[in-house]
Symmetry: C2
Subunit: 591 residues, 2 copies
């Protein structure tokens, strides 16, 4: 592997070889050349055209050739590239069907790290059926890589739509001499690419005679590095030089931004959204939140600006103060504005209150601040607030019930007082992400609930759209909402749900945003929300994706319902069906 | 209701009225006119445009107006026809959303027989969402009828694709003055039509001045009678005459054929396929089978013809003799051919053997027949058969393991002997049937298994295609099979799986068939097989339905896997996904 201090993950580069006379020696040679793995044929080439040939010899080498851990870690087993169980000739179909099964069985027996299948034809029902049988039985740790040329997305799409979802299945993307145009190519960023196969003939020679890639290829491959895919190159004489060049590309890929670095362990990991109203947060959760200095600086600036604009403002209430970071920001803002302010830090979590009381005799010693243990909805203070400060935002803006909480905290605010934030708006856009969807279906097993996920291995060519808006103090106490959107589809693709984001105006032009187009720089407190659908929807060119979302309120709970429809030629081609009716799977408790 | 001795179900005819001043009187009047039910508005017309009007009066009549059982049996409650929760104006949308909920709540409270909803617009996500919430909670016994004009199938299709499957939901089909062409109209036969609404203006006057329908309408409505739908007419002055005319049409609809009459209680009822190899059949099952005289006559004729063609044939073995009907047919054939035959009647079911032994001293007294209690696969007789007769056919031909059983009975047949049947072929065609699919999903809750179902409320405009073929004695012992088919789609429709049938050649041109195109006259031993898919697939015009089916054999079991793909413009628009991998849900035990 290639450790690179600039990037917190390693690049694995492997080499493809012909059937080696001595695999142990071949592997040693590759390791000496700094390769991490070998991709070798599973069976002897003698059998590749005629697997049913009768001989005394076995069809391949013995498993004694390598110790188990080397099969496990260093070998990808490549299936016979001729297999075509979808042949129109019944005899050939049967022959290749048996051979595909035999090769996969053998690869499972050896325990190779990855089983590499050749590209099926577009009409690949039998290939899909055989693969699906293995996926249904499940693999212990092995992965299945299907080789797909970069310009053959339709084949991958057909295959994955037919087989059941499996985290073991991924693409070994074969880079082609001519890359298709960007909007065609970029769909791959929503697919589970486990390996990038760069054949020797793609390389050019530079002036010094060294192998290099065309600029366009460099850019695409550097983007693929971000999916943590391994790289495979052919066994050319200049393989070591090529490996060096790949490592050079890796080292010189665009740096991660602060948010990417912070979140790397969470990429495409699904988390159940927090419900701070129903459950008290834990110390570790507070710890993570408090690392985000950007957010607190924005709050400080917002409070400062509000104090400057309103010289009578003096009473600041922080509702949901947690372990105090926003109250501290308020104190700093007061000092900066040279205003003699009074801060109330309120929380309902008795564990957070312990920390707040401690702060009174440490960081906050001598400050004009009072700690209140209460639910903001029940607290009856002696004086009212000029500025009510809260941070009840979830990844989709209102999903931690900011509207309902602030409704019940209206009584805390003076006439002419303000709320920080004064406005929150959720946003969404369709998402193509086989990986997040597969996780929702196979790991979490629940498609009718939204997840918090640092969407990374995903593709969405659309501008995010405004979904639900709330203003504070609210002019009405109806917090049910409905929004519907249409997203035109230019290039055929498959979508797996939608991503949710939010933008919250703290004060005037001081805004928190997780919306891709306007994301607050370096702010990492919130990951996006992912709303899955039960089945992916293929959207042909010229179709229109219609997303409808409801925020429903009733019987002490709040929940979302959603549906994604795909329209074409004025007809409903496909509906995801309505998700989460009556909040049956996911709801947020108001109490 | 209108009882008609020619038809084993009753016609219910109802009348639509305006909001009646006195519903009790109105209902009495209708009953006096021989109507079975009334369809009345759920709320007073005063509120139909402005449901949010503030008044002292309640929005509708009290539930005291009728006793519960009359609400339950005789009243359909019609929702405000103006409701449009999909209005583009947010205020109107909210108003109608509330109103739709209030009306349904009220209808549920009253316990009316059916809740009638007006036709939504084509883009009906919010209408669908509200309805879906109620369907998800479930109704105790009430039905929901959505009024859909006969030429607006696309609206119904959009609605049902968005809401979850529910046996409570059906169509009140509104007959239009102009009927669309047949291929457009006939799609309705795959939809759950609960009511046929024939407005007054559709009727013409005949020479005598009586209301009649155009011929085309008569034919369509008579076909709808077969779905056991009720009929609704407007409250015209000549309502009684119109009712009389509807009854006349009912009485003069085409008669049921013998198979339809026999199977009426099984229409669209899903049954788990029998597994006679693993489970011994019960007396009642034999009873039903033995009623089918047609089948036994075909067997008799086949044996007779074989005897006539081969003058040396003498030994006839009936394997799987059950309670003896085929052995009796063999004896009759022998008599008719004036051949001195010997019959062996073999069965493995000890309960059937009791009956067979009894027959030896009654019906078969003096005949040259021997009863053998054995599994045909294990029996070692002293002499071999000239004719091996079996009837191991399931609804899909080979699904009771005829091929595997006859393989193991090969040793019973002489060189030059024959098998009756000598060939079996399964057939299939795509099926549009919301009702059968809904039953599979909601009642049986298992979509990955085939069912035996007397497909009735279904639509399939395609010729059935040959699927798997088996010949006996079999030239090979490989009984795995694969078939793939393409069905072009001219008119947009939604499919829910495929129907399975079979044709079995007993001897030369004597054939048993359940294939729609060649069904053996009056033979009612087998109902079709229904292979569902997890989700319906909408197929636009110009698309192609690809059905692939595998018969898989291994580890002591046989199972089917299947997938339905919809292709258009060279792309896979939608795949059902592979069903039943490794026989995980449905398999047939070989032992």
């Amino acid at each position: 592997m290639f450790p690179c201090p600039e990037f917190p993950w390693q690049l694995y580069v492997g080499k493809e070889t012909n059937y080696p006379a001595n695999i142990q020696q071949e592997l040693q040679k590759a390791v000496n050349e700094s390769f991490d793995f070998l991709r070798v044929p599973l069976s002897h080439p003698r059998y590749s055209q005629h697997p049913d040939i009768k001989r005394n010899n076995a069809f391949t080498r013995s498993d004694f050739c390598l110790p188990s851990d080397q099969w496990n870690n260093c070998i990808q087993g490549k299936c016979n590239p001729n297999i075509n169980p979808d042949s129109s000739c019944p005899k050939l179909r049967e022959k290749w069907e048996k051979e595909m099964g035999r090769q996969i069985d053998w690869a499972v027996h050896l325990g190779v790290n990855a089983i590499v299948l050749p590209t099926p034809q577009l009409h690949c029902t039998n290939f899909a059926r055989i693969l699906n049988q293995y996926l249904e039985k499940g693999f212990y740790y092995q992965k299945v890589h299907v080789e797909i040329p970069a310009d053959k997305w339709e084949i991958w799409n057909a295959l994955r739509c037919m087989v059941g979802p499996s985290t073991a299945l991924g693409v070994s993307l074969v880079i082609t001499k001519e890359l298709p145009e960007e909007k065609i190519l970029d769909r791959w960023f929503g697919e589970p690419i486990m390996n990038v196969h760069i054949p020797r003939h793609i390389f050019l020679k530079n002036k010094q005679g060294f192998p290099v890639l065309p600029k366009e290829h460099q850019v695409f491959i550097q983007k693929l590095f971000k999916l943590k895919a391994s790289v495979l190159i052919g066994s050319a004489r200049d393989a070591e030089q090529i490996r060096g060049y790949i490592c050079y590309l890796f080292k010189n890929q665009p740096r991660l931004n602060k948010i990417q670095s912070f979140s790397i362990d969470y990429w495409d990991n699904l988390q159940i959204p927090l419900q701070p109203l129903m459950h008290n947060l834990e110390s570790m959760t507070y710890d993570i939140f408090e690392k985000d200095t950007v957010k607190y600086l924005l709050y400080e600036n917002a409070i400062y600006s509000a104090l400057k604009d309103n010289e009578n403002y003096r009473i600041i209430m922080v509702v949901g103060a947690g372990r105090g970071p926003i109250a501290s920001a308020a104190l700093r803002a007061g000092r900066k504005a040279q205003r003699n302010i009074k801060v109330y830090a309120l929380d309902k979590n008795p564990n957070a209150i312990v920390t707040l009381y401690n702060l009174l005799s440490t960081d906050w010693a001598g400050e004009n601040i009072e700690v209140i243990e209460s639910d903001m909805r029940e607290w009856k203070p002696e004086e009212k607030a000029d500025i009510l400060v809260s941070e009840l935002l979830g990844s989709f803006g209102d999903n931690e019930l900011e509207p309902e909480c602030l409704e019940c905290a209206k009584h805390l605010v003076k006439e002419g007082g303000i709320s920080i934030p004064c406005e929150s708006i959720s946003y969404l856009s369709p998402v193509s992400s086989q990986k997040n969807w597969t996780n929702a279906i196979t790991v979490e097993k629940v498609p009718e609930t939204p997840y918090v996920s640092m969407l990374h291995n995903f593709y969405s060519p659309w501008t995010t759209q405004k979904c639900f808006q709330f203003n504070y103090p609210s002019p009405s106490s109806n917090y049910s909402r409905f929004s519907s959107f249409k997203f035109p589809v230019a290039t055929p693709l498959t979508i797996h749900g939608f991503g949710g984001y939010f933008e919250s105006k703290l004060y005037k032009d001081i805004t928190l945003s997780t919306v891709p187009e306007t994301h607050s720089k370096d702010m990492c407190s919130w990951f996006p929300m992912y709303f899955p659908i039960k089945e992916p929807i293929f959207c042909p060119g010229g179709s229109e994706i219609e997303i409808s979302v409801w925020r429903c309120c009733g019987s002490g709970k709040v929940w979302y319902e959603w549906v994604i429809n795909m329209w074409k030629d004025g007809m409903l081609y496909k509906s995801s069906g309505l998700h989460n009716p009556n909040g049956k799977t996911y709801w947020i408790g108001v109490r």
